[in-house]
Symmetry: C2
Subunit: 191 residues, 2 copies
């Protein structure tokens, strides 16, 4: 017998678990990160979310729909982090530093985000609706970068960020930060 959380004083208690749908979506990402899309089953996700099996099929008509929503929230959250990091930046020199930090830092570079990105990319080359998700994601990155760099440089920089993050994540001997700094400088030009 588990005690139910107390309702806020005076506030109408709408439902027992209001954001269960979002919780299921988050649990799906955990399962994909651990077992891959190949190992993402209704039962594993339900267990991870601490929720009954029937609840999944109620909220999501298919596994594809569930994965679609999960990856969409992932892309939005990552893009939000990207935006936030670039929003605090004043001039181009600071933008340069921010980009280097993004590549070497935690937002783009932790293994969980990277493996989920790969799974998303693989899915996106196969499912057109997921292509829209990756397109929107990349577009937001370019908008954030476009505030400081010209359009062509922005395209190059965006691709460089992708490649450097990937190689840093996959490589056993991660590239030193100084090399990342030098690569960014070569693309965006001398200060």
């Amino acid at each position: 017998m588990r005690a139910r959380p107390e309702p806020a004083e005076g506030k109408p208690r709408r439902r027992y678990d209001p954001d269960r749908r979002a919780n299921i979506s988050a649990a799906a990402l955990d399962v994909v990160a651990k077992h891959g899309v190949a190992g993402a089953t209704y039962r594993k996700i339900a267990e991870r979310a601490g929720v009954s099996l029937g609840s999944l099929t109620y909220h999501f008509e298919s596994l594809d729909e569930l994965l679609g929503e999960a990856f969409t929230t992932l892309a939005n959250r990552t893009a939000n982090g990207f935006d936030a990091a670039m929003a605090e930046v004043g001039d181009e020199a600071a933008a340069r530093d921010a980009v280097v930090s993004l590549i070497t830092g935690e937002l783009l570079n932790d293994s969980r985000t990277m493996v989920l990105s790969y799974e998303l990319y693989a899915l996106a080359t196969r499912r057109p609706d997921m292509r829209r998700v990756t397109d929107a994601w990349m577009a937001r990155s370019r908008v954030a970068l476009g505030k400081f760099f010209d359009p062509e440089t922005t395209l190059m920089l965006d691709a460089l960020i992708e490649g450097l993050s990937m190689h840093r994540a996959l490589s056993l001997a991660p590239m030193p930060r100084t090399t990342v700094e030098a690569a960014v400088e070569r693309i965006v030009g001398k200060p």
Copy 2:
């Protein structure tokens, strides 16, 4: 009743299907490209290879072993293509052109290779033995590039190739070749 292929004159007919193991491996890549690792089952692969189900479990003790061998051959074949393209190159200017052609051309950029790469990357961040495959792959790329560029430039260029190929494959509006040329030039320096 299907007629059996005639044995070569005088040559001892060793076995009915000598490279069935390799054929199964190739069929596995086809299935992964079409349905993802998630949809790669013994039965689908057997059907694609035109081979009985039992033959798969005979040649490969597990699906992981089969996928491991399939991705290993993929990585080797792609690296061979990379080597071949760079081997025909004389000076650094030609190397620059070769790199641009690799990014915009067919070796790295067809959607089949890209989706398989993503699946491999996703697998590699989860399975240590696959990490060795991707490591060897990237090491060969760097060796091929290292004949023409200094070590640090090679690292940068390798990452740039990865990122540009990926963005060209995923983007609905592919980046123009001139932008690719400009990006490579910024990394490797003025001619």
